[in-house]
Symmetry: C2
Subunit: 709 residues, 2 copies
C-alpha cells in the first residue's frame, strides 16, 4: 500500500467520523429519539437532558463525560462498567507513557537509517511494493547488527515496565472498587445472603428434596440458616406463562393504546375467559412443579453476610462431588437450566468444549469453505429450483458468484460470538456473567490467533515455508519478520476501528433506524415499544476481545512501528470518551459481577505483552542483534509478574473476603425479600408485583417496574 | 548371578530371619527389656503382658496381631497408623490378586518358550552370565512377535484394573476413617477449635499485635471468636528454660535414684539457690517475650468446631498475602520458627527447594565423589597428621583405601533423609506432619530414580549409548529392555528387605543394645532413662518411601518376572504382621494428622503403576509386538483415574468437611484448656503441670505426664 492510499483511507474514515458526530448532535436533540439516546437515564427515572444539556450545547456531552466521576459510573452503570473504564484508562496510560519516550527517540533513529533503500537496491525481488515513506519510520529501516538496536531493546524494557506498573496499580484499584461495592451498606444485595448448592444427593426415603436440604444445612448452621429454595424444572411452566402473558396483557394494552372501541366488549369477554382458564392451569402446573420436579440444586439463604461468605468457600461434604457450594450469582444472572448438571459431567463438558474451541480456532476456515461450496450457484439451483430464472440473468449471476463466499464468511464470523456463548453455556456454568467471561476468553484467543497472527503470517508463511522447514523452531522469527510488512495494514485497521466503529457507536444510527421501523410497523403495546428501544448492556463478550485485539496489535507494533502508539492512544482515548457517554446515558447493565471481569482482562493484557516480548525477541534476533538475549529475563519477569498478581489478588475476586463481608450494613435485612428475589417469575404468584426487590430482579421484572412507575 | 547363588543368598537371609525371631521370643520375655518391647503399652498405662501373653506362648504376638481390629490400632496408635495399615493391606491385596491370575498363566507360558536358549546360541556376546533358570520363568524367554505376548498384555490390564479397584476402595475407606476420627465425640481435640493465622500486617499505631488480631477477628466473628495467641520469638527463652530444667530437675532425681547421701545437704542448698535465680530470670524473660517479641502469626480460637472449620477454609483479607489462614495443626506438631515466614517468601523458598532437590536427585553421585576425594588417605593424612602412624600399617591401609568411598556413600545416604527433612522444613511448612509428607515425597522420587532406574540403567545405558543417540525418544525402551537382566538382583533385594529388615524391626536388637548401654553408662535420672527407651514413632518419612520402592519394583517386574509377586506378597504380608505388633506395643505416634498421608501414598502408588505401564509399553514394543499400542488407552485411564480421585477426595483431606465438623460432640468444651494446649511450654507458668490436655500436649509434656503418673 502506498503512503498516499494510506492517507486517503485515513481521510475517508475521518470524514465518516465527522459526519456521524454531526448526525449524533442533530438526532440526539430531537425529542422523538430520546428513548434511543438516553434510555439509561429514563429507566433510572432521571430527566434525559438534566443540567447543562438543557443549553443544547452540541459538545456538552463531552464535558459531561469528562466531569463524570467513577462514583457516577458505579451509580448509573455498576461496578463492571467502572472496571471497564479502568481497563480503557490503564491501556491508554500504558500507550501514552510508552509514546512519550518511544516517539521522540525511535522515529528519528529509524528515519535517519537506510536499510530499506540499500536492500531494495540490492534485492528488488523480495520487495512487493509495501515499502513506503511509512516504513522508513519503522524498525525495518534499521541496518542489521546496528548499535541503534540498543534503543529498540531499551524501548521493549520501557514498554514492559510501564505495563507492569500500570497493571499493578489498576489491579489494586479494581480490588478496592470491588471491596467498596461489596461492603456497601446502602443496598441489600440478595446474593450476599445466599449460596448456590449443587450436586445434592438423593434424599433418604420419605423425605422430599427440600426437607433434606433444610435438615442438612440446619444441622451445620443451626443459628444462621434461614431457608432454602430448591431448583425446579419449570421450562414447561415458563412456556405456559408466556401463553398467559400473551393472552392477558395484549388486549388490555390494545384498548388503552390504540382504542379499538368497536370490538371492545367482545374481545374483553373472550380474553377474560381465556385468562381465567390460563390462571387455573398455571396454578395447577405451579403446584406440580413445586412438588414433583425438584432438582438436585438449591439456593440456600442465611441470616447474615459473613456466614454466607464463609459457607460459599467451604467444603461441606467430605466427598467433593456432593453438596458442592459456590457464591450465589444475582437472581437475574442464574442460568437455571445449567444448575442440575452434575459435578463430573461439568468437568467432562468443560474439556470437551475446550477441545471444540481449539478445533474451531485452528480450522475455522474449513467450515467456511464447506459452506461456500454448498452455496455455490450450481448447488443452490439444485436445492432451490425456483431461483433458476433469477440466477440466469448474467449480472446477478456474476455478483452472486463473486460474493457468495464472502457472504458465507461474514455470516460465519457474525455467528461466532453466539456460537462461543452457546459453547460456554454448555459447560454448565451457573451464571450469565461467568459464561460471558468464558466466551470472551475464547473470542480473544480466536481473534488474536486468526486475525492478528493469521493476517501476519498468511502471506509470509507460504513464501517462507521452505525456510521454515529448514529450522522448525523459528515460528517466532517468521512471525517477527513478517510483522513490519503489515504495519500499514494494521495502522489502517486501527484507524477504521476508532473512526467508523466509535462513530457508529456514538451516533447509534442502526438502533435508531430499527427502533423507528419497529415502532411504526410492529409494536402494538406499550411493553413492545419499550422492548424496541431497550438498549441492552455493553456486551463485554464481544467488546472486550475486540479491544484486546487492538491492544495486541498496538503492543506488538509499538517498537517496530512506533507510530501505531498514536493510533492506540486515539483508539483508547476516544473509546473512553464515547463509551463514557454511552454508559451514562444509553446502556443498561444486565448483571453485576463486582469486577470479576478484571482478572480475566489483566491476564489477557499480560498475554499480549508476553506475545510482544516474544515477537521482539524474534525480530531483534532476525536483525542479528546478539544482545536480543537480554530480553529473556524480561520474558521471565512477565511470567513471574503474572504469577504474583494471581497469587495476591485472584482469590479476592473469586470469593468475597470476610473482612469485606463483615463491614458496612448494620441493620438486619428483610430476609423474606431476599428470598423472594430468587423465586423464578413463573413460580411467583400472580397477585400483583409486590415482591420487587431493588437492583436484583430479573429483567422481566425490570420492565414491570418501569410500567408501574 | 547364578540360580544357586540366588538360592544361597535367599537361604542365608531366611536363616538370619529365623535367628532374629528366636532372639525376639527370648528377649521380649525378659522383664528387664519390657520397656524396649512394650513401651507403647507402658505409656498408655496398660499391662505389657495383658491377656493371652501371660501364657508366654512364643507365637502369641502373631495371634494378637491378627485378632487386633482397626479400632484397636486407632485407639493405641492413632489414625495415621491405621492408614499405614490400609496402605499395607491394599498393596498386599493388589499383589495377591495379581499373583492369583498371573502366576498360573504367565509362568508356564514363559517356561515352555525358548527365546533365551536360541538367542544365546546365536549371539553369545551380549549375554553376560545373568541368564539362569530364573530367567526362563520370565518374559525374556518369550520369542519376539509371539502371540503368547497377548497373555502378557492382558496381564498388564489385569494388574491395572486390580489396582484401580483396590485404590478406590482404600480411598473411600480412609476417608471414612478420617471422618470418624474428626467427628469423634469422645475427646476434645484443641486443633478443631483453632485456626493458624499467618502474614498478619503491622498493627496500626498504638495497638499491640494481640489487640489488632483480637479486634480483626472479633469484628468478623462477633459471637464465636474466643481469643487469640500471638506467636512470640522465644528461642532464647527455650534455651533459658533448658538451663533451668538442667539445674532444677537433675539433683532432685539424683537423690531419689542413686542416693548420694554424703553431699546431699550442700548440693540441695546450692541447687535451690540456682533454681531461685533461674526462676526469677525466666519470669523476667517471659514478660519481655510476651510484650516485645510478638510475631506476625497467631493461633485464633473459636467457641465451636464448625466456625473454626469454616474460618480455616475462607479468605479473610482481600489481598491474599495478608491474614492467610489454615487449619491449626496439633500443638505438638507446630514448627514455631516457621510461622513468621511471609507468604511470598514461602513460595520462593518452595521453588528454590524443589530446584535443590531436583539437583540432589540428578547429581547425587557428585557430592559423594567429592567427599570420597577429600577422604582419600593422602588428604586425610594432611588434615589429621596424627593418624599417620596408624595408616602406615599395611593391613589397615588396604582396608581404608578400599572402604573409604563406600563409607562416604553410606554416610551420605544415611544423612539423606535428615537432609530432605531439613529442606522440607526450610520451605516454611507450619506443621511436622506436613514436613514429613514433603520429605517422604522427595525421598520417594530420589529412591525410585536413583535406586530403581539408576541400577537398571547404569550398566545398560552406557552400553547402549550409541543406540540411544540414534533414537533419542527410546529412553523407555532402553529402561524396558534393561529390566529383565536385573530381575534376579531385585528379587534378592526384596528378599533381603523383608527377611533382614523385618527381622531387625521385630527383634529391636539395636534399640535394645543402645538402651542397655545408655542405662548403664549415661543415664543419671529417671527422665533420662525414659528418654533412652522412648521408642519414637513409625517414622513415615523413611518407611513409606522405602515401601514404595519395593512396590515400584514389584509393579514393574510383575509381568516381566511374575515370581516377584510372591516376594511382594511376602514383603507386605510380613510387614503388616510385624508392624502390627510394633504399632500396638512399641511405637508411640508423635503426631496425628487424621490420615492426611493417604492422598500422598495414593498418588505415589499410581505413579508406580504409571511407570509400570510405560515400561510394559516399551518392553512389549521391544518384543516387536504391534498390539503394545493397546496399552496407550490404559495409560490414559491411569491419568484420568488419578484426576477423578483427586477431584473427588483430595479436598476432604485438605480441609475438615463441615458435615463432619458439625456432628458428634454435643457438650461445650472447656475452652480455657483448648487455649492452654497451645501455650509453648517455655511460656507457661512453672507453678505445676495443671494445664495438661489429653492427646495434644507437646512431647516434653508427655514426659511430664508420665513422671506424674
Amino acid at each position: 500500500m502506498e503512503f498516499e492510499s494510506f492517507l486517503v483511507s485515513l481521510g475517508t474514515s475521518a470524514v465518516i467520523f465527522v459526519v456521524l458526530m454531526l448526525l449524533f448532535t442533530w438526532l440526539s436533540r430531537r425529542p422523538g429519539n430520546v428513548s434511543v439516546y438516553y434510555p439509561n437515564r429514563i429507566l433510572k427515572g432521571m430527566d434525559p437532558w438534566e443540567g447543562s444539556s438543557l443549553t443544547r450545547n452540541p459538545f456538552a456531552w463531552i464535558r459531561e463525560a469528562f466531569t463524570s466521576t467513577e462514583q457516577d459510573v458505579v451509580k448509573l452503570s455498576g461496578v463492571d462498567t467502572a472496571v471497564y473504564f479502568v481497563f480503557l484508562s490503564t491501556v491508554l496510560g500504558i500507550f501514552a507513557l510508552s509514546a512519550l519516550l518511544l516517539l521522540p527517540t525511535l522515529l528519528p533513529l529509524s528515519a535517519t537509517d537506510n536499510s530499506l533503500k540499500t536492500s531494495r537496491n540490492v534485492t528488488d525481488t523480495t520487495s512487493n511494493g509495501t515499502f513506503s515513506q511509512l516504513d522508513n519510520l519503522s524498525m525495518a529501516n534499521i541496518t542489521r547488527r546496528s548499535s541503534r538496536l540498543w534503543a529498540f531493546l531499551g524501548a521493549v524494557y520501557w514498554v514492559s515496565l510501564v505495563t507492569y506498573f500500570m497493571l499493578w496499580k489498576a489491579y489494586k484499584h479494581v480490588a478496592a472498587l470491588r471491596a467498596e461495592a461489596l461492603m456497601s451498606s446502602e443496598e441489600v444485595l440478595p446474593e450476599q445472603y445466599a449460596i448456590l448448592v449443587r450436586d445434592i444427593p438423593s434424599p433418604p426415603n420419605g423425605e422430599t428434596q427440600k426437607e433434606f436440604v433444610d435438615s442438612y444445612f440446619r444441622e451445620i448452621y443451626p443459628e444462621t440458616f434461614y431457608r432454602s429454595l430448591v431448583v425446579t424444572e419449570n421450562s414447561k411452566l415458563a412456556r405456559a406463562e408466556a401463553v398467559f402473558a400473551a393472552t392477558s396483557n395484549r388486549p388490555m394494552n390494545k384498548t388503552g393504546l390504540l382504542g379499538l372501541v368497536g370490538e371492545r366488549v367482545d374481545s374483553i369477554d373472550y380474553y377474560t375467559k381465556l385468562i381465567n382458564e390460563s390462571v387455573a392451569k398455571l396454578e395447577a402446573e405451579q403446584r406440580t412443579v413445586l412438588a414433583e420436579k425438584q432438582q438436585t440444586a438449591a439456593v440456600v439463604f442465611f441470616t447474615d453476610r459473613v456466614t454466607a461468605a464463609l459457607a460459599a468457600q467451604s467444603l461441606h461434604c467430605q466427598m467433593v462431588d456432593k453438596w458442592t457450594v459456590t457464591e450465589a450469582p444475582e437472581p437475574r444472572q442464574l442460568i437455571w437450566e445449567n444448575l442440575k448438571i452434575k459435578f463430573f459431567s461439568r468437568i467432562v463438558r468443560q474439556y470437551l468444549i475446550y477441545f471444540l474451541v481449539a478445533i474451531t480456532i485452528l480450522f475455522y476456515m474449513i467450515p467456511i469453505a464447506f459452506v461456500s461450496a454448498i452455496t455455490t450457484l450450481g448447488n443452490l439451483q439444485k436445492a432451490l429450483p425456483f431461483i433458476k430464472p433469477i440466477v440466469e440473468i448474467a449480472f446477478i449471476r456474476t455478483i452472486l458468484q463473486s460474493y457468495l463466499p464472502q457472504i458465507a464468511l461474514i455470516v460465519f464470523l457474525a455467528m461466532l460470538p453466539k456460537f462461543l456463548m452457546f459453547l460456554s453455556k454448555s459447560e454448565g456454568i451457573p451464571s450469565q456473567s461467568h459464561a460471558i467471561r468464558a466466551a470472551s476468553g475464547k473470542y480473544f484467543y480466536f481473534s488474536v490467533l486468526n486475525v492478528f497472527i493469521g493476517v501476519t503470517l498468511a502471506g509470509s508463511l507460504f513464501d517462507n515455508l521452505k525456510a521454515l522447514e529448514k529450522k522448525p523452531n523459528s515460528i517466532v522469527t517468521v512471525l517477527a519478520t513478517s510483522l513490519p510488512k503489515n504495519a500499514t495494514f494494521f495502522l489502517t485497521y486501527v484507524a477504521l476501528k476508532f473512526f467508523v466503529g466509535y462513530g457508529l457507536e456514538l451516533s447509534r444510527i442502526i438502533p435508531l433506524i430499527i427502533f423507528h421501523l419497529k415502532k411504526k410497523y410492529l409494536c402494538k403495546t406499550e411493553a413492545e415499544v419499550k422492548e424496541a428501544w431497550y438498549p441492552g448492556d455493553l456486551s463485554y463478550a464481544t467488546r472486550v476481545p475486540s479491544d484486546m485485539l487492538i491492544l495486541t496489535i498496538t503492543f506488538c507494533y509499538s517498537v517496530i512501528a512506533p507510530l501505531i502508539l498514536v493510533f492506540g492512544v486515539i483508539y483508547f482515548g476516544l473509546g473512553w470518551l464515547i463509551l463514557r457517554n454511552q454508559a451514562l446515558k444509553v446502556y443498561v447493565p444486565s448483571y453485576e459481577s463486582y469486577g470479576r471481569m478484571w482478572p480475566h482482562i489483566h491476564t489477557r493484557i499480560l498475554a499480549a505483552l508476553f506475545l510482544f516480548q516474544l515477537v521482539m525477541f524474534g525480530y531483534l534476533g532476525a536483525k542479528l542483534f546478539v544482545w536480543a538475549t537480554l530480553l529473556v529475563p524480561l520474558i521471565f519477569i512477565s511470567l513471574i509478574f503474572g504469577y504474583v498478581c494471581r497469587q495476591k489478588f485472584y482469590k479476592g475476586f473469586e470469593h468475597t473476603a470476610l473482612e469485606v463481608a463483615c463491614r458496612g450494613l448494620k441493620q438486619r435485612p428483610d430476609l423474606e425479600e431476599v428470598f423472594r428475589a430468587y423465586i423464578p417469575h413463573s413460580l411467583s404468584t400472580h397477585k400483583g408485583d409486590d415482591h420487587q426487590f431493588k437492583g436484583a430482579m430479573s429483567r422481566y421484572q425490570d420492565y414491570a417496574a418501569i410500567s408501574a412507575a
